[in-house]
């Protein structure tokens, strides 16, 4: 089994089209599943594979599927989350743009496993050009009998459609996505009830990320056990990583989970090292919502072990010295980047994207943005740093949906690891506008009386 499971055929010319995809073995997993596996068998295979959600939270997919309520006579739905708006993340777009039939094949398999006969892909509105590609592929799949009534004579019916959002990060949160798909504002719902019981149109619903659903194809082709043999520990299989920032080769890479972070950043096969011969300052490994790591915690954990690209290793040390794999939005910062400015930028993002339902999130994100902007512009005080710490603590855990946490964590981590840089902004308000603090461990700009 090759290490590239999703992007194996990505460079084959014309792979976007049905004919070429089929020639490369496409839709064989559907044939296999409909002929030889019951829906429950398929859920079992996914459980065996150890696949975990690729949208950010990393929840075991097979387990999520087995929670789906199945009351008699009530239709169930599978929704694919293609909202992809987490800063630093662009892998779902890559997959849908390059090899849309892989997602459709995954949707057929997953819908079959869940007993869903009407499934939807919810894509962010800004990806309209990608939506047209997927819509074309869906039409091809219908024309070739992979969608519609009685697929391949199996008795299984499936209608699949793609539908857009219109600009709102919050619609990536699964209950907001459901609201949006119902044609409403993207306000997250209170849980419970969970979507598995009452989701789209109050019917049992599963929401999965694009990459999660695509991964079901190799799992069916090779078997759950073979998939589980790839990767490391409970981080099985492969993961798409969106690499951006100050690196030589930004882009989307498929890695086997367990690859050392150092190898991912510095090897020619992946990021190709830091641009312009600069040094690494910081890394955000899983999209803007996860804690930033200072350079000395990037390649090694606090315990001195190699840091690996896996759910466990990236989280090693908890939030004190670790982070999260998240969505795989891997953002690299070189020594010239300003951590205060970057934190302010992300706070502005969360403030902009807060749906406004809960006061800690609505007010807190705005407040953090303001205080950070003040610090960044050289008008901040030492108390502002403590104030920031206080605000983020009051948001975390006190909101309807995890966007509040997502806004709080990056601020907490930046203060935790780069406090000196924040303080330097207060002490050297003029200098801080001209240049950046450099690497934290160097104490390049040793404190001078203000």
């Amino acid at each position: 089994m090759s290490k590239k499971l999703l992007l194996e055929h990505i460079d084959v010319e014309g792979i976007r089209s049905y004919e070429v995809y089929r020639k490369q073995g496409g839709y064989q997993a559907v044939e296999k599943a409909l002929k030889t596996l019951s829906p429950d068998d398929l859920v079992e295979e996914v459980k065996k594979s150890g696949l975990r959600g690729r949208g950010g939270a990393g929840f075991p997919t097979g387990m999520k599927w087995s929670f789906l309520a199945k009351p008699d006579g009530v239709p169930r739905h599978l929704l694919c989350n293609a909202d992809e708006s987490e800063p630093g993340t662009f892998k779902d777009r890559y997959l849908m743009e390059k090899i849309p039939h892989l997602l459709i094949e995954g949707m057929i398999l997953s819908s079959y496993a869940l007993g869903a006969n009407q499934s939807y892909i919810y894509i962010r509105g800004e990806y309209m050009f990608v939506m047209r590609i997927v819509e074309q592929a869906i039409a091809e799949a219908y024309a070739n009998g992979w969608l519609g009534k009685n697929i391949m004579g199996s008795g299984f019916d499936l209608d699949l459609a793609i539908t857009p959002g219109a600009g709102a990060y919050i619609c990536g949160e699964e209950t907001a996505l459901i609201e949006s798909l119902e044609g409403k504002r993207g306000n997250p719902r209170m849980k419970p009830p969970f979507p598995a019981v009452k989701g789209l149109w109050q019917r049992p619903t599963v929401v999965n990320n694009v990459e999660t659903i695509a991964a079901v194809v190799p799992i069916v082709n090779h078997g759950g056990d073979a998939y589980a043999a790839i990767g490391i520990g409970r981080s099985t299989g492969t993961k798409l990583i969106s690499a951006s920032g100050n690196i030589n080769k930004p882009g989307v890479y498929e890695i086997e989970l367990g690859l050392p972070v150092e190898e991912f950043i510095y090897s020619e096969e992946y990021c190709g090292g830091i641009k312009n011969g600069k040094r690494l300052k910081a890394l955000i490994p899983g999209g803007s919502s996860v804690p930033v790591l200072p350079h000395y915690l990037v390649c090694k954990t606090a315990a001195g072990e190699d840091r690996l690209m896996s759910y466990e290793s990236l989280a090693d040390g908890g939030f004190a010295t670790g982070s999260m794999l998240g969505s795989g939005g891997f953002i690299v910062y070189d020594e010239d980047q300003c951590m205060v400015r970057n934190t302010w930028n992300f706070s502005r993002f969360y403030h902009h994207e807060s749906c406004g339902q809960c006061s800690p999130c609505r007010e807190g994100t705005g407040w953090m943005e303001k205080v950070l902007h003040r610090l960044e512009e050289g008008h901040g005080t030492m108390e502002d740093i403590d104030l920031l710490w206080d605000i983020q603590r009051k948001i975390e855990g006190n909101t309807i949906c995890p966007l509040g946490d997502a806004a709080a964590w990056p601020v907490a981590a930046a203060i935790r690891h780069f406090r000196e840089e924040f303080e330097w902004h207060v002490r050297q308000p003029k200098l801080c506008l001209e240049r950046n603090y450099g690497l934290v461990t160097e104490k390049k700009f040793e404190a001078q009386p203000a």
């Binding site: 800063p87 800004e126 047209r132 539908t163 970057n342």
Partner: protein
């Protein structure tokens, strides 16, 4: 309502197709996409346009207003024929998004959020568009323009001057 304030037969057919993707009685799910069509057709979503969409989908006007004002891609006020939407978020910022915005501001003689006097261009900085590895970037209509430089922006603006893409998110 005069004729230009209604959908063409092709658009109405598209509305029917979109509605048919959802179960009987769930036509509200078509709203977000139909609003994209309406914005492409009418230029922006004023009350008249929103009321029209409400009638098409058998919704209360308030249900349409709520949605049109929630999502950032909808314009309830007039905008230029071409919206230049520059991503300003982290990964793009460190690759020069701010400079890019200033450059376009100077070139077009407008500030972020404004429209040129000829009604051709609106400049707007927006949040992450999912092109972080190809920064800096901007979206215009349905197209992403990535790895931007000042030269590329010059060429782009020339191109759009000659051929303003009004068909934003509409029929293809």
């Amino acid at each position: 309502m005069n004729e230009s304030r209604q959908f063409t037969p092709e658009l109405l057919e598209e509305v029917n197709r979109i509605v048919s993707l959802f179960p009987e009685g769930k036509q509200k799910s078509a709203l977000i996409r139909v609003l994209h069509l309406a914005q492409a057709h009418f230029g922006h979503l004023d009350t008249e346009a929103m009321d029209y969409v409400a009638r098409l989908l058998h919704l209360n006007p308030i249900e349409v207003y709520e949605v049109a004002t929630f999502y950032s891609m909808y314009d309830t006020k007039p905008v230029g024929k071409v919206k230049l939407e520059v991503c300003r978020t982290g990964p793009c910022m460190i690759e020069g998004a701010e400079k890019l915005v200033s450059y376009i501001e100077q070139k077009l003689g407008i500030k972020d959020g404004e429209t040129t006097a000829d009604g051709l261009f609106t400049l707007k900085s927006v949040e992450c568009l999912g092109a972080c590895g190809y920064a800096p970037m901007l979206q215009a209509g349905e197209s992403f323009h990535e790895h931007l430089t000042e030269e590329k922006v010059d060429a782009l603006i020339e191109e759009y001057r000659a051929n303003p893409v009004a068909n934003y998110m509409g029929l293809k």
